[in-house]
């Protein structure tokens, strides 16, 4: 793993591949600038990682302990903090800024963020159950059907798919391609869709390839 970057989703559009002429669906992400707020080492913390902060806010929006933590890195008040576990922390200093030019076009990244919350969702939306007939005298429209056997076992097995809260959970979309990097505006164009609505907080990190030696 290496250090990623925090950003907000701006929306989606499409651009054209100038060679093949194909339309590429892209998500526009405002990535960074982020400040390194803490560098954890084996000696002080027992493991190595880099903590970055994103999104400047007013000083009154943060608590005194939060401000004190950021003061060590001489960073402006930042809303979001996130840690990236890495092997080698040399080369990372407190107060250093990370910008969108961390990535190059063509690079493969993982993007994680909160999905759109759907509230208390029924069987069809949450688990893709089939629905019953809407007409022909049927009174079963969106019911779940059977939830199990009768007297034996006399209970519903744990894990049975039922209605409930859906969405609003952290999801990682893996192996997305970086299409374009605008280092002036700190904007990343990533091929495909990412979790959440425009304005949602996202973490973009180099792809975690299973089996690769890192």
């Amino acid at each position: 793993m290496s250090v990623g970057i925090l950003g907000t989703k701006l929306g989606m559009t499409q651009i054209f591949d100038q060679e093949t002429g194909k339309a590429i669906p892209v998500t526009v992400i405002q990535a960074g600038p982020c400040t390194i707020t803490q560098v954890k080492t084996k000696e002080t913390d027992g493991y190595t990682s880099v903590q970055i902060g994103f999104k400047e806010v007013k000083e009154k929006a943060l608590t005194k302990p939060e401000l004190g933590h950021l003061k060590r890195a001489s960073a402006s008040p930042l809303r979001h903090l996130k840690e990236y576990r890495i092997q080698d922390v040399s080369g990372y200093e407190l107060g250093q800024t990370i910008k969108a030019d961390l990535f190059n076009p063509g690079e493969i990244v993982d993007v994680s963020g909160n999905t759109i919350g759907r509230g208390f969702a029924g069987y069809q939306k949450r688990h893709n159950f089939k629905r019953g007939n809407m007409t022909h005298g049927s009174k079963n429209h969106r019911l779940p059907g059977s939830t199990g056997a009768g007297t034996t076992p006399g209970r519903v097995y744990p894990g049975k798919k039922m209605a409930g809260r859906y969405g609003g959970t952290k999801v990682t979309i893996r192996k997305l391609q970086v299409v374009e990097v605008d280092s002036e505006q700190n904007v990343l164009l990533i091929k495909g869709a990412v979790p959440g609505k425009p304005g949602t907080l996202l973490s973009i990190a180099p792809a975690n390839i299973v089996g690769a030696n890192n």
């Binding site: 701006l10 929306g11 559009t13 002429g21 339309a23 526009v28 505006q185």
Partner: protein, 120 residues
């Protein structure tokens, strides 16, 4: 800059500025870039614009023609590099935004009246 302005500035790089104003009912020639091996050539596709979808960078036209007795409809993304050029051959006079009724007609019934108040 807000989100919409940033997205628009990204799209602006890919938008064409030399497109003519196309109306539904027009007869057009669309130059389609075709790659054969490593050679590239432009193939003309002629037909009637039966539908238009406005959407900034994803603006499309649907062009219908009769090829060897079979109706063919192609949807062109106007700002795509595959569309080399669009030439207006004839302006048509129609009273609908979508000319899907042409699909149910054959021969002389598919003709569209020409209009002369719009320049080609």
């Amino acid at each position: 800059m807000n989100a919409e302005a940033i997205i628009r500035s990204i799209e602006a790089k890919h938008l064409k500025s030399d497109l003519p104003t196309i109306y539904v009912g027009d007869n057009v020639e669309v130059g389609v870039r075709i790659k054969e091996g490593n050679k590239e050539r432009v193939q003309p596709y002629r037909g009637t614009v039966i539908a238009k979808r406005n959407g900034g960078i994803s603006e499309t036209i649907t062009v219908r023609r009769i090829f060897q007795g079979v109706g063919v409809e192609r949807v062109f993304l106007l700002h795509s590099p595959i569309v080399a050029h669009v030439k207006i051959e004839r302006r048509g006079k129609v009273r609908r935004a979508k000319l899907y009724y042409l699909r149910d007609r054959v021969g002389k019934a598919t003709r569209i009246k020409q209009r002369f108040d719009r320049s080609v």
